[in-house]
Symmetry: D2
Subunit: 337 residues, 4 copies
């Protein structure tokens, strides 16, 4: 089995040949067709965050494939089922978070490509209950980015409680942003896309953004205030300046949803006076749960979203990482396997 | 009419003798019996915040009294009605905020004792619709602190959506805190009171706190985590360390409500990684609307809250300000007039 | 001034020539261009409901026109402003409902074309604060149906808390239904349109319904269950059978929003066992507030809705009523004036 | 093992001696100390509802005991743990309802004492994950009624979204009602207790009701309207008249929560005009989930609730049923085993 392996936080990924993993009790083995490249994979490979994975490990959590073998005690999904392996590799099922619909906050969760091996490989194992069914009508190439970039931004729009006719500013167009803006619109919002690259803003317009702002040439805070201010801002770019602009673009009663995870212990500076007087909030949002992912697939199946993909070979994983870091990738890299 | 007047941000307040004000169209004249001293009055007198009042002006926005004269076009409240003059002196009634139940966010609002003269005086005028009825059974001395300290903390508990059996940590016991903890309990919460003075914590216990923590001798973050973490933390003390501790005491899914307004352009530093991974939020909360104040009075009338008052004469306003700033006042100073 | 007048509940409307009304204090005079014909107008003319209007009166509450004269004390909207006169003719502004964002529940409200004269006339007066601005880009012909059919169904979708990827069944396509289905879709829903006329279902498909069901030939309850059941059902047809089917089409956790108002004291029969075991709800929803109407106009201006109109002359008001009652009108009759 | 068994819907329960059941995979065996008698048990024994259990079976779903043996694959709760067996005997864990926090709506759920054998026996088996921990400080005698009467009414107050200072009318005091009124108060509500027996109303007053109404001598609808109307009404008595009164006691914007389950296919008649004009809702509420039960125990442990129990021997089960049906039991019968 070919796999891309992180051997150390200072080294590039290594393409290795490994044995086919065996599904443990309650797990299934999946033959991977496609796997998307998420910023989180890069942070994982570099050990960027306070909680670090333990090399050697295989990143990847946008893996689409077919169930080939069932571990003991598993009856579904049946062999042959198309499934998606997402960031949430498993959760305990009986803590307060799991019982209340927030399995993504479970303290006992496992994360694909981080605390357990992920999908940058021809085969991967996953807990049967977290092998999410993928509708037949969705190509693996489209399903991959939906599995993390899709469900993450879908959830961000949901926790922001975007209502029809609200104005939503998306800070950062790309893998996440090109989907975030579509979900904001699906929820009835008027969408303002903010980025520093014109090609990404052109894509945003094509995907339904009502307004676009190039933050390298225009002050996005002033421009958004001129449009009446944002009810909701979604911070998808990991730069401190971008978080700050997103907060300051809010109108009274507005909500900033933070999704991007900067390296290290970065902090958001919230001006207290303005937040209190203006009744504003800041909300942290991680990926969605299994229902959210099913919704994301259902919306795509109904033709309500479009996924923009750049195809790469897994052998070129390090080159693809460079492309992403340099901003040369318009939306999402997907590896075919 | 005796009044305490701010003549400049560097000077003490001055007790002056002024003419009785005349109620304009849509206003009423109120003979003030009692007026509470809020931290906001001190910030107003010192010009502490980004948006400043214009001296000379009379502070005070916890004024209780009786309507003595009606301006043109006013039919209610009738002469003789007991009313409270609160921070929200008026709002426009037809902007999006006013129409949606958020008159406290109205951009055209007037604020008593800040943008218009307040209640540190024997007489004050106020918009008739914002002269809030006070039930007969509530003494003016109790009603005064409820009018700002009460409604502000009541609203904080409400925007935090405290549910029964949730754990609520109140950071800062005193004028606001001694009421906040009671509202947290009224909403069904388990309450942890945090302060640096033992007398205030003793009061907290007496008023129903389930746990108390002296932050000058115990690390409140660790102590709260040992209790399972806070679902909700309410930041009532204006120190940066207190805000920071309040955020870090949250469990996953927790919400920090910011109420205190530090001087100048102070910022809250939110650790992004922890906020996103833990699904945490930070919410700014200003005072409540007229319904909230009516609720606060109804709860007090039903015996569900207790107000702790320290009595002072208006002539001693500057000494009282010193007492508050030095932390010597356990709960709320109320001036009788 | 030409007007259509209800002179008694048993008689047809009468076209009369009346003097131009004079705007009272706080009111404006509006020169009406267009006025839609709502089912409520017919119920008003027939005295169908428990609370009855007092003839003679002028019905109409989807009136679009231009402000021609201001009553005393009014500064806005300025003369020349295009405005909409809706069902909510005024509200008190200071009761609990008004303060909390629910002016539509104000016990002191006036209703256009019911408790006060409406817009089936060349001129009408209305409280200045309830003369809702209409964007220039929206034709009067489109604005009229949005003013009641639009805002009513928009609010129904809102109180149902429709979330993206939920299934919404609209029972009754026509004046209200053709807009309800668009708002359900704007909120991200998958829409099932139910009616007994194929022309209306064809319109529904064209306007974005995902599924259509002809209830005269197919059992809609079974058909909707086959699609997985409805998360939300909206009852827009006043027949008891339709309400009943709408409830029974719900999946567990589903919500039925009742909008239609049958004549007399009609009751909805809710099967208690199924409601309790299935965690289902039934919600009454009346028109939206002024913010909701502004949203409805903003969505139309942005091209997100389409209004289907049948043009009639006010002189033919009785014939138009007959057309509506016989089901011959696909969507909304609008009178030009 | 002694057990009370339903052998047919027309016969009294039979006390039988049965073998100790063996815990299957994923189950635990519990030695029962106490078991409460719920109205649901009586409906089960009589086959009153549309969905019927299959005799012979053992009723009971308020069972408190100690884990004595673990089935295969079970590691917790450990042997010796005190646990509660509730109505929700198990749920699938991976359907939309389970994932979203609504395991009580799971279509694959098992119900103790209904679809599987219950706790009217010295021993019972239950799915390990649904053997809910009981804090040591709570007596089995108190824990039993909390396990169904408690969690059911706690959830009803929760789905009604009772906010502080709202008025809550509880229709039917007794096993459920005496706890419902305490939870309404814990959530900050003003409580009106309605019943037809003075002894139950006296208990209600003692437990904190703000008002009591004897519906056999006073019209509760008028009496509640005189108090301003109810924001929330909770229907706990299975009589159609009581449901009807509960609905009609609501003020505008009010919510009726239905909990009682009348025999057969009883329907609630909701007056549509009043519901729509008044913006009222009717909500079905079944028992709470495992988090809700943990909350109920935590509140009791903190001294915030009181449980009123009538002790009976399991041998007298049929006499106890008669007592309950005749209304002679003030609150909850608990069998000791
Ligand atoms: Zn968990
Ligand atoms: Zn990712
Ligand atoms: Zn305003
Ligand atoms: Zn204050
Ligand atoms: Zn209408
Ligand atoms: Zn009102
Ligand atoms: Zn029960
Ligand atoms: Zn389930």
């Amino acid at each position: 089995v070919k796999a891309a392996v992180v051997t150390g936080f200072e080294s590039p990924l290594e393409i290795q040949e490994l044995p086919i993993p065996d599904p443990g009790p309650g797990q299934v083995l999946v033959r991977i067709e496609c796997s998307g490249l998420c910023h989180t994979d890069i942070h994982a490979a570099h050990g960027d965050w306070p909680v670090k994975p333990a090399p050697p490990f295989i990143p990847g959590h946008e893996g689409i494939g077919v169930v080939e073998k069932l571990g003991s005690g598993v009856s579904e999904p049946a062999i042959g089922t198309r499934v998606a392996i997402a960031w949430l590799g498993s959760a305990c099922g009986h803590c307060r978070h799991c019982i209340s619909g927030w399995e993504t906050l479970c303290e006992a969760q496992q994360n694909s490509g981080y605390s357990v091996n992920g999908t940058f490989a021809e085969y991967a194992v996953v807990a049967a209950a977290f092998a999410n069914p993928v509708p037949d009508s969705i190509s693996a190439r489209d399903a991959a980015p939906l599995t993390c970039a899709g469900v993450t931004t879908y959830k961000a729009i949901k926790v922001a409680k975007v209502a029809p006719a609200e104005t939503v500013a998306i800070f950062g167009i790309g893998g996440l942003g090109h989907l975030a803006l579509q979900y904001a619109r699906i929820a009835g919002g008027f969408v303002i896309a903010v980025d520093i690259q014109d090609d990404k803003l052109a894509m945003a317009t094509e995907l339904g953004a009502d307004h676009v702002i190039n933050a390298s040439t225009t002050d996005p805070v002033q421009a958004i205030k001129d449009l009446g201010g944002a009810d909701v801002a979604v911070a998808l770019a990991a730069s401190p300046a971008s978080f700050d602009q997103a907060f300051r673009s809010l109108r009274r009663g507005g909500r900033l949803v933070c999704v991007a995870l900067p390296a290290n212990d970065a902090a958001l500076n919230v001006p207290i006076f303005d937040m209190v007087i203006g009744g504003k909030s800041v909300i942290g949002s991680i990926v969605g749960n299994r229902n959210d992912l099913a919704d994301v697939f259902a919306l795509h199946e109904a033709g309500r979203t479009r996924v923009v993909v750049v195809d790469r070979r897994l052998d070129d994983v390090n080159a693809a990482v460079d492309e992403v870091l340099s901003g040369r990738v318009t939306a999402r890299v997907v590896f075919s396997l």
